[in-house]
């Protein structure tokens, strides 16, 4: 059921009640709403989704239309989630680019790592954010237990100390909504988190993420590999969107990001190709050690040098008009994702470096965990705002998210230096890891088996 922003003609300050209110109509908030819509325990409950904006129309994602510059890499686990929610068809019928291989390399040495799964299996899909938001939004209209209010901006929320009171949300238009459970899916600067008084640790990376849509040229005309090269200012990633178009995520210093954004397109392309191909920072003795080790490694199939094919990224030809944008990068984590009558999901609870493309996937994992816990709570006749249940979400989600967040943070720190000792250790480490087929297969199976 959809309620347009203006048509809810309640008297000022009129108060209404919902069992749960989700603040934030983004990729994670909409997925939460869809999950609860499909949750059998929630059929007799009423859930409200508050979207500060308006949902994007799916017609702008037909083939041929220009690509949107905000894209995400979706893990196989998240794809399963979308299939379960019944939105995968809708997303993939528009445009979702399958990535069969992930190739990570270093600007300071020849070390490399390659992730590949079976012929038909994907490592990830690259999809535009708004296509996901729009597809989930369309699906919501099928659920009678979900109301959506668009252009509904939250002025303030209050979260009670105990179950005897309700959580309340006051909208900018003066409407007041009461609820048993306030779900904050309102992003990095979450209003819900601020009202919850939950402790939050955060720091900035002094890096900006520059995004753009670029036209590329590959040797075989196929664009099925996601490329990431670590440079001393941050990683540069090319994520396939079609055979000739890729999404760029370039993490670099804030000043560099500003400068690159304003460069004339052809100069920007030159600098980007330089960042992808330059050999200036290579350390010869590290490379010699890698070469020697490769020759001795019994697990490595080709022992003479690197195979040329598939180890160089595509050349960037042009950058699409007005597709460049940048935003600051940071790390953040709420010490607890829950309090009585409140749960935080997605970026409102945790934020991380985009280099592994994990951020939103963690948000969808939150959705899965919270959906299950709330289903249990309803089946067991509990108050869904009860911390006895919400705590289970908190501990499961923290346990799932923190190792990923901390590893990615370390990875970013490890690669922002060109100090020879660090380069040597990381290169040999990465290279050894890449050559040990059995170990790598075990890790990949572990990661993708985490379904």
């Amino acid at each position: 059921m959809k309620l347009a922003g203006g048509t809810v003609s309640c008297a000022r300050n009129a108060s209404s009640y919902y069992d749960a209110v989700i603040v934030g109509g983004g990729m994670v908030g909409n997925a939460m709403a869809c999950s609860l819509g499909a949750n059998k325990s929630f059929t007799s409950k009423n859930v409200l989704l508050l979207d500060a904006g308006r949902s994007p129309s799916l017609s702008s994602f037909e083939s041929g239309a220009p690509f949107n510059n905000r894209v995400v890499a979706i893990s196989p686990t998240s794809i399963d989630t979308f299939k379960k929610l019944g939105v995968w068809e809708r997303i993939s019928s528009h445009r979702a680019k399958k990535v069969k291989r992930l190739f990570v390399f270093d600007s300071c040495s020849t070390s490399e790592i390659e992730f590949e799964r079976g012929q038909q299996e994907e490592v990830a899909y690259i999809i535009e954010n708004d296509l996901i938001v729009g597809s989930l939004y369309e699906k919501l209209s099928e659920y009678k237990n979900i109301d959506v209010k668009t252009e509904a901006k939250v002025a303030e929320c209050s979260i009670p100390n105990g179950l005897e009171n309700m959580a309340t949300i006051k909208l900018e238009n003066g409407n007041v909504i009461e609820t048993s459970l306030l779900i904050g899916a309102d992003g990095v600067n979450s209003k819900v988190r601020q009202s919850s008084n939950l402790d939050y640790s955060t720091f900035n990376y002094n890096q900006h993420g520059l995004v753009a849509i670029v036209n590329i040229e590959t040797s075989n005309g196929k664009n099925e590999t996601a490329w990431q090269r670590f440079t001393t200012l941050g990683p540069v990633a090319l994520l396939p969107l079609s055979d000739t178009v890729s999404g760029l995520t370039w993490s670099t210093s804030p000043e560099e990001a500003q400068r690159l954004k304003q460069l004339p397109p052809d100069q920007f392309v030159d600098e980007l190709n330089h960042a992808l191909f330059s050999q200036d920072d290579q350390l010869p003795y590290v490379n010699q050690a890698i070469f020697a080790l490769n020759r001795m490694n019994p697990f490595r199939s080709e022992t003479f040098g690197r195979k040329a094919e598939g180890t160089t990224p595509p050349h960037v030809i042009t950058v699409q008009d007005k597709s460049r944008a940048s935003f600051p990068l940071g790390f953040g984590n709420a010490h607890s994702y829950i309090t009585t009558r409140c749960a935080l999901i997605g970026d409102s609870a945790h934020r991380m470096h985009p280099l592994a493309g994990q951020g939103v996937n963690l948000g969808w994992s939150d959705v899965q965990i919270l959906d299950k816990v709330l289903g249990d709570a309803v089946r067991e006749g509990a108050d869904i705002g009860s911390v006895t249940y919400l705590r289970e979400y908190d501990s499961a989600a923290q346990k799932h998210n923190l190792p990923v967040m901390v590893s990615v943070d370390l990875l970013n720190r490890l690669y922002r230096t060109d100090a020879p000792a660090v380069v040597a250790v990381r290169s040999l480490g990465l290279n050894t890891f890449n050559s040990l087929g059995p170990v790598k297969r075990f890790l990949m199976n572990y990661l993708s088996a985490h379904r």
């Binding site: 007799s44 179950l163 067991e380």
Partner: protein, 261 residues
């Protein structure tokens, strides 16, 4: 809340000394003093809140859903922290308790908006009475499709009388659900010393080890009251994580399922 508590406390003491029943006046007073904390999930009763995760499904799974909604009486309902989830799960619930403040706290929570909107307040009521008085009323005799006495039998003065009253409330064939604590050295260590003094899981003095009941005693009381015990299971509380699991050992907490013949 605090000022009204002492007034109610006096009233309660007067009342409980006046009534003739299995009620233990000291116990009633003890719970009167704790009444403000019933709904606090993190307070004195947190282990009872988390016990719901195991006892609500247990009760739900063992009551025939042919009658809709099944009528259930929760004896020793306290602040309603089991009665309310049972009502939400589809039962028609009457909660009775000898502690007036607890009943008042339970009635206050009935006013909450979610319960009103979902119509749960209509099939849930709380009475301040003893189980003996309650089962004397003609309309309550053999009237219930399920009888629950969870974490209460270790607080009563006259156990055979109490169990007899429970049995009178159940219609023939209806299940009785009892959870309590065994009288063993394990329970002295875990439920009294560890839980009250060291881990502070429950308020000090809330339990009296001498009043704990062994499964054999409980079984014989039930059998004399015309009930057949069909299952006895152990329960274990995990203080880290605040959750419960079913275990085989009945050395400490345990649950009994009986059926009125």
């Amino acid at each position: 809340m605090l000022s009204s508590r002492s007034v109610l406390g006096k009233f309660c003491r007067l009342h409980s000394t006046a009534s003739v029943s299995s009620i233990d006046a000291k116990e009633v007073e003890k719970f009167g003093d704790l009444s403000a904390e019933w709904s606090d999930e993190l307070g004195s009763f947190h282990a009872l809140h988390s016990l719901n995760r195991i006892r609500v499904p247990w009760i739900k799974d063992n009551v025939s859903q042919k009658i809709s909604p099944p009528r259930l009486v929760d004896v020793g309902s306290g602040g309603g922290l089991l009665s309310i989830p049972l009502a939400r799960s589809g039962f028609d619930v009457t909660g009775i308790d000898a502690t007036k403040q607890a009943v008042e706290a339970a009635r206050r929570s009935l006013q909450s908006k979610p319960l009103q909107i979902a119509g749960i307040s209509d099939r849930l009521r709380f009475e301040h009475t003893s189980v003996e008085d309650f089962c004397q009323k003609a309309h309550n005799k053999s009237a219930y499709d399920a009888v629950v006495a969870s974490e209460i039998v270790e607080h009563v003065a006259d156990l055979p009388g109490f169990i007899g009253s429970l049995a009178e409330l159940a219609r023939p064939g209806a299940p009785l659900f009892i959870t309590t604590i065994n009288r063993t050295w394990v329970s002295k260590l875990a439920a009294i010393w560890l839980a009250e003094n060291i881990l502070k899981i429950v308020p000090a003095g809330v339990h009296d080890w001498e009043k704990f009941i062994t499964p054999a005693e409980l079984t014989s009381h039930l059998e004399r009251a015309g009930c057949r015990v069909t299952a006895v299971h152990g329960l274990m509380f995990h203080p880290v994580g605040n959750h419960w699991t079913w275990i085989e050992s009945t050395q400490c907490n345990y649950a009994v399922l009986a059926v009125k013949e």
